[in-house]
């Protein structure tokens, strides 16, 4: 059969679950309908209503000092995937990327650290407390990615992302766009999450756990069962796999992400967003509902999810819903949260490759509210096209379409689209800046390091009552960046705005996690706060912004320590350029955190306040946002165009990539400016080697704050500076931290004369 260059082959699989330590072991037990639930042994679950989980056993899960259970699960599955693709040694392509999704990262280990930090005054030796503080930020969302990259690298492009329970599916979506944009030749993508007290207590508090173990689609179902594990796949172009004589397991034909913009924990009951994602993914794959032979459902077993998902499927499949088998494995190895979409991708791949439809373990009495073709026992059946759904907290829904290895992608290959900036917004202790005024941020005069003024005037307080501080800062910045009365539309109950949200945030809700753990320690699991739990998920501010502003496009969070802001811009740019979203609000946020401040005091020394003595500027708090749009969309919608994005480069450890930064147009004197968050020798070196060193430099951290979101403020300043000053032709924004680097070039946009 003829193949096109754009077909993406899956050539490697890896998984670890409560059912097994490999894809093969998990698959065999899945097909037999086995369930792997038992009381948790990782920690004492005294006082938890439901201690039943799907725990991984029999895998050695330790490592270097900064290891976490999540990082070792990731490494285990990633190693299997890379090995089975034949890329472990000889067959490695030149440019291989790594995308890792997660939501808990090293939370299990952080909980132990917090137990020292939260001990009453006098109960712990001050030195032990300082030592614990030094470890407190060892497990950011990006830590498992770093661990996999160090062990299995080098990788030319690395990304850590979270969209709660759709993280694994979004890792594949991002990997696919990297191949489509020609950024890599192969990509190892997947996700990992380990069990921990925060998630088990949180889902207990939400009353979302079935005491008898999850029974997806069953009329007696009472909730999900938490599991843990990791899943990884290797994606590459089918032509490349064929050229190296590697047989594909199956193909990845389509993908799409949409947001519900509805509620932080409850699914929107009609299933509108999931059905939009399903339709878009099928269209992307170039197949119709009639072509679908199997659906691997999200199927959590909660009272609300399963009927909602059934409605969405019936809506999309139409009459075919009466013959397409649907199953979920969450009643067997549990809901593995971020890892779910990735593990279930490996299950779906096995189903296609072997022609076996796996069952829904735990399902005995199908609920009439879920009128689907349920699979009570594994059965042989040819599968040419399969669909896999994943829905996350905050309403982040992603659907993947897989095809048999001999399936031909009929979807038209997409060309990379031009991307423009249509607005900017920044909030700092000095004030709120929108549009061209964002260019004034580097000259602003902040008082103190916290945003002390009243934010309620900027927000609709009733709609914003669930938004935590980070979400509020992000919402204010995004609203300014998107402009065009976004909130006014939301308030008027207007249709969703077709825009996504990408959040850059390094550490997540550190103080809120600490407060949640303090309650858990002092009062017990029964008094864990159900309303506070959703805000602990790293992607929560992205979800809150999408709900508050009613933004219905792809929504997720990325993390890359001090370059989390630049990373978010790269992620947003890729999704718009690859055609996954028409508009995206990119926002980086850093909230004032007592614990982060204490950690930095321990790690970097007590007094960093005197900037005049050359010490680092105050951390402060704030958010920076830019609105991105496909050029044709911006023109058609009459949006203001601040700048055109000329180039987005990212590199990991290998700094030779930065030599690809295009020199300033017309030379250094020709109206080119460099903007960065926090200055540093690494940035100087890049400018020196790329012809930008003579250009005027604007540093943002001194006035906006020296923190992990400073890069997000810098890109907003860069775009606004270009838009405001007609003598400037180009602005380069650079951010580098711990070997991870980003270079984003903005150019003046001019309407093409036709």
């Amino acid at each position: 059969m003829p193949r096109t260059q754009s077909v993406i082959a899956i050539t490697g699989l890896g998984a670890v679950t409560a059912l097994g330590n490999s894809v093969e072991e998990t698959w065999e037990r899945v097909v037999r309908g086995e369930r792997a639930f038992g009381p948790i042994t990782l920690f004492s679950a005294e006082g938890y209503r439901v201690p039943l989980v799907g725990e991984v056993r029999g895998v050695r899960l330790d490592g270097p000092e900064d290891f976490s259970r999540t990082s070792e699960l990731a490494l285990h599955a990633a190693r299997e995937a890379l090995g089975s693709s034949g890329m472990s040694d000889g067959g490695r392509p030149r440019r291989i990327g790594l995308v890792v999704g997660g939501s808990t990262a090293g939370m299990l280990e952080t909980e132990s650290t917090l137990s020292v930090i939260l001990s009453p005054e006098g109960a712990v030796d001050p030195a032990a407390r300082d030592e614990a503080l030094g470890r407190m930020l060892s497990h950011p969302l990006s830590a498992p990615t770093d661990r996999v990259a160090r062990e299995l690298g080098p990788f030319t492009r690395v990304r850590s992302l979270s969209s709660a329970c759709s993280s694994g599916a979004n890792a594949m979506l991002v990997g696919a766009t990297w191949l489509e944009l020609g950024l890599v030749d192969a990509v190892l993508c997947g996700a990992s999450d380990a069990l921990c007290r925060v998630t088990l207590a949180g889902f207990n508090a939400l009353g979302a756990l079935d005491p008898d173990g999850a029974r997806p689609f069953d009329r007696r179902r009472r909730g999900l069962t938490l599991g843990e594990g990791a899943g990884f796949v290797v994606l590459e172009r089918a032509a490349d796999a064929a050229a190296r004589g590697k047989r594909a397991v199956c193909t990845l034909l389509g993908w799409a992400a949409r947001a519900e913009a509805h509620h932080i924990t409850n699914p929107e009951p009609t299933g509108d967003a999931p059905s939009r994602a399903m339709r878009a993914a099928l269209a992307r794959a170039g197949v119709t509902p009639a072509d679908v032979d199997y659906v691997n459902a999200h199927g959590t077993g909660t009272p609300l999810n399963d009927p909602m998902e059934s409605r969405a499927l019936v809506r999309v499949l139409g009459e075919h819903a009466a013959r397409v088998p649907v199953s979920s494995q969450k009643g067997q190895f549990g809901h593995t949260l971020a890892a779910a979409g990735a593990i279930e991708a490996t299950i779906t791949a096995c189903a296609i490759a072997r022609g076996i439809v796996p069952p829904t373990g735990g399902l005995e009495e199908p609920d009439p509210e879920c009128p689907l073709v349920h699979v009570m026992r594994g059965e042989e059946r040819p599968i040419r096209v399969a669909l896999s759904s994943s829905f996350g907290f905050g309403g982040m829904d992603t659907v993947l379409v897989f095809g048999r290895a001999d399936a031909v992608q009929r979807g038209a290959p997409r060309r990379s689209r031009a991307v423009v900036v249509t607005g900017a917004g920044v909030i700092t202790p000095a004030g709120i800046f929108g549009g061209l005024d964002v260019a004034d941020v580097p000259d602003s005069a902040p008082e103190g390091d916290a945003i002390a003024y009243d934010l309620s005037a900027e927000l609709d307080v009733e709609r914003a009552r669930r938004l935590d501080r980070a979400s509020r800062l992000a919402a204010v910045a995004c609203e300014r960046a998107l402009g065009d009365g976004t909130r006014t539309k939301a308030l008027a109950g207007a249709e969703h705005v077709d825009a996504g949200v990408i959040l850059g945030n390094a550490f997540g809700a550190v103080d809120a996690t600490s407060a949640f753990m303090r309650r858990l320690r002092e009062k017990g699991a029964r008094f864990a706060s159900p309303a506070d739990f959703p805000s602990l998920v790293p992607s929560s501010p992205a979800g809150h912004v999408s709900i508050y502003l009613r933004l219905a496009g792809p929504t997720l969070a990325v993390a890359d320590l001090a370059t989390s802001g630049e990373c978010a811009v790269a992620q947003g740019y890729e999704l718009v350029a690859a055609g996954e979203a028409d508009r995206i609000a990119v926002v980086a946020v850093e909230e004032k955190s007592q614990i982060v401040d204490q950690v930095f005091r321990v790690v970097f020394g007590p007094d960093r306040r005197d900037a005049a003595r050359g010490e680092r500027p105050l951390r402060r708090e704030g958010a920076g946002a830019i609105a991105l749009a496909a050029e044709d969309v911006a023109i058609a919608a009459g949006l203001p165009i601040f700048a055109r994005i000329e180039q987005v480069l990212s590199w990991w450890q290998d700094e030779s990539a930065f030599t690809e930064v295009a020199p300033p147009p017309g030379g250094a004197r020709g109206g080119a400016v460099v903007v960065f968050g926090t200055a540093g020798a690494a940035i100087d070196a890049v400018l020196e080697r790329t012809g930008w060193s003579e250009c005027r430099r604007i540093s943002c951290a001194e006035r906006a704050g020296s923190h992990e979101a400073a890069g997000g403020i810098a890109v907003a300043v860069a775009a606004a500076t270009l838009a405001k000053d007609p003598s400037i032709e180009a602005v380069l924004c650079v951010g580098i931290a711990r070997g991870s680097g980003y270079a984003i070039t903005f150019g003046r946009w001019r309407a093409r004369s036709s």
Partner: protein, 98 residues
């Protein structure tokens, strides 16, 4: 405790813990529906939070699932539930939870 005091305490708890910023607790009607439109506009996540807070602050155990539904109708029904549960605990002599 007087019944009106209990109601006032419940209203203050709702405003503070559910971030009903800008709302005066005394403006909440005793019989106003807590959920859905025409009242406070709370939802199922708030119901879970209220149940947890009632257990913590008032020392009474809230049943799970549909059994608890009627008590969440209004401030009045919440206060009646708490009073009845306290009276039960007093007569049976069992220690309150929390």
């Amino acid at each position: 405790m007087q019944r009106s005091d209990l109601k006032r305490e419940i209203k203050q708890l709702l405003v503070a813990e559910l971030n009903l910023t800008g709302r005066d607790p005394s403006s909440i009607e005793d019989e106003a529906p807590l959920f859905g439109t025409g009242g406070l506009g709370l939802d199922s996540l708030d119901a879970l939070q209220i149940a947890m807070l009632v257990e913590e602050k008032f020392g009474v155990r809230v049943p799970e699932g549909d059994e608890a539904r009627p008590m969440f109708r209004s401030v009045s029904s919440l206060s009646e539930f708490i009073e009845a549960a306290r009276a039960r605990d007093a007569t049976s002599g069992s220690a309150p939870t929390g």
